[in-house]
């Protein structure tokens, strides 16, 4: 048995072994990710599909205001 043949067997076993480990580890990672408690509750905005709301700015909605300065004066009614 020459050197190449022996090394080829070692490579064969490690390649098959690491590929199996790769698949099992990936499945384990996905499972862990799925089981993470309250994943979306605390971190909704991290999801690209999740709600994205402005952080600092209040959205302006015309016609609806609570500011007393722009409320119609009682005499105007």
């Amino acid at each position: 048995m020459d050197l190449v043949y022996i090394l080829a067997y070692i490579i064969l076993f490690t390649t098959v072994g690491t590929m199996v480990i790769g698949l099992v580890a990936y499945a384990a990672f996905k499972l862990r990710d799925k089981r993470k408690p309250g994943k979306n509750k605390s971190d909704e905005t991290m999801n690209v599909d999740g709600p994205l709301e402005p952080v600092f700015l209040e959205r302006y909605v015309p016609g609806v205001t609570t500011d007393p300065a722009v409320q119609p004066a009682p005499d105007d009614r």
Partner: protein, 455 residues
Amino acid sequence: MEIRKVGRYAWRYGWAALAIVVVFVLLALTYDTVQDAKGTLMILLENGLLAAISSYLLIFLVLLIFRFALLLLYSFMDHLESLYKGRDKSAVLYREDSSLPMISLVVPAYNEGPVIQAAMRALLALDYPNYEIIVVDDGSTDDTYEKAMGVASESVALEVRVVTKRNGGKADALNTGMTLARGEFVLNMDGDTKLSPNALRACIRHFENPKVGAVAGNVKVINRENIWTRIQALEYVEGLAMARKAQSFGRVVNIIPGPLGMFRKSVLQQVGGYDRDTFAEDCDLTLKLLMRGWHIEYEPAAIAWVETPSRLLDLLQQRYRWTRGILQATRKHSQALWQPRKAGINCYILWYMLFEGVMWPVSNILGNLFFIFVFWQYDLSTLLFFWWLQLMLLDVVAAAYCVVIEEEEPSLIFYAVVFRLFYINIIDISKVLASFEEWRGNAMTWGKLEREGKL
């Protein structure tokens, strides 16, 4: 002192030379086997499918060798250029302390409690006369904000601002920091990163060239404690010393790493800051800069020490996000893929990213499965061996070169063999599956890693 330094160089060069000699001796020892196997390879051409896969793998190997040769050449050219620039004293715009512009350091932090104080203290010790620190607590659920405030209150000479906001993701935190920044230049980093004291001085010099919009720093692994983190240390060294250095020679660095990237603030504003529609906001921003014609350079002397995942599942989680994020960024700028005349070098950058992100892992797995099948079916053990040997040869040569250029630990060269034998198959499988999920459009989340506080 000088003798010790020369001794260290000789030690490093010696190990690099020895590693290359060993792999070439291994190659020479197998010469007879190649001669014996000459006639047997015709089996691969008897079947149409086998012939097609063999041809594909041959093309892939040619591309791979071309890639390594080109990166090594350009990287070396960049190295020579930086040595020449170091001696060139004609450009002195940002050399005198009085002329150094203000830099705002933006540190986004989400649940970085175990590491934020070490990262901030390293920032307080930076060698630069004119900078401010802005820590953006991105709605952490741990004590990140309190710990950051603790360090901020210790600082007397330097202005440290700590702001907290509702959780909105890293891109949002970086944009918030950019808005608050008062400096002409902004350095964005991660909350788990420790910068080398010279980082600001080393980066700012590149901006003497008005075409340079950003500078990418050198990221190194700090927690080299087990086989996973040591192999990642080698990966980082190769990715930066070879790939990014080569890209820097053409001023087209394709990813400004999250742990250390310095920008002109005006350029960040021009491109609209970070977008929130990908999971690789650093890659996306870099592509936006390149598409607008800005030059991006790499600074090897500006080092960002980071903590890398020390457990397999954490590592896969990180690579899953990187793979999908880079594919998202590539897809976002995909119009440049088909317009070589209009997009110029950016077209090739995107194709290169697809080669690295998709074609390489797919071909590696395909090659392994193909040669295992040929081994089992036709008893051609030599093919599997030579497939592996030529890939390992490229890895060892690249590792030896990078260890010398980056003045790294020579033991990392040994990890090139471990990388090829055990590590890369596991990572490639996760990359291929992540690419498949991205293609299918599966939902994903950021997947925050737990910090171990190794900074």
